[in-house]
Symmetry: C2
Subunit: 106 residues, 2 copies
DNA sequence: CTACTCACTTCAAAGTCTGAAGTGCTCTTA
DNA sequence: TAAGAGCACTTCAGACTTTGAAGTGAGTAG
């Protein structure tokens, strides 16, 4: 390779590195992709090593990037809704499926 | 959904969360997958936002998990080698290809 | 010889994550 | 209807990670 030359950066745009770079973001998207809309508590139970503070912050980042949105679950009269993937989030989830299988298999 | 029940955890085993959870690990693996073996400096130039300290720490984690290894480049008599994906690292890279395209397209 | 690149290391400051605790609210069950 | 459980967080201190700038010693090109 010629010296001093820079390669193409394979990194996502600034806004996304900070979301996808979050330790649990990929897990949350995978979880919602598998199970559909979920409330806070079930997400928390499925990711035993995440603290509620971190989970809140992860969910807010994902909302800011329009990857997840809050939805109301019809079978439930609660004030706050559940979290579901948006269209954009679904696309991300589909791209993550092979990665998620590798992780589980590894 | 029944209350109080926990879902399957979609998370990788403990050792891997801490590697893949590193902010730049996925970028480094993608970069090495695209370009083959690379030295420290070109990797650093391709990931402009990473500091050398963080890059060193990321590479060490990836080595510890046997995802990258140091190799000697024949065209170069330097003491330290370049970094290349292992077999395991290649498998990870293949699983990351759709994710990487989504990130670039997003 | 001199200047440059390489592959790091060091340091302080900023940011992120953990783990435990606590808050106010909404259900369910007796 | 009152007690208790679960929900969706928030707060806090301490630990860990990343940044950004600077510096180091060894190798290489002119």
């Amino acid at each position: 390779m010629p010296r001093g030359l820079s390669l193409v950066c394979p990194c996502p745009p600034a806004g996304l590195v900070d979301v996808v770079g979050k330790k649990w973001a990929v897990c949350v998207v995978t979880l919602l992709g598998h199970h559909g809309a979920l409330r806070f508590a079930p997400i928390q139970r499925s990711l035993p090593a995440v603290s509620p503070a971190t989970l809140t912050s992860t969910l807010r980042s994902l909302e800011r990037e329009h990857l997840v949105a809050r939805v109301r679950i019809s079978t439930d009269g609660r004030a706050t809704g559940a979290y579901a993937l948006t269209e954009r989030g679904e696309a991300l989830y589909r791209s993550l499926v092979p990665f998620a299988s590798w992780l589980r298999a590894a």
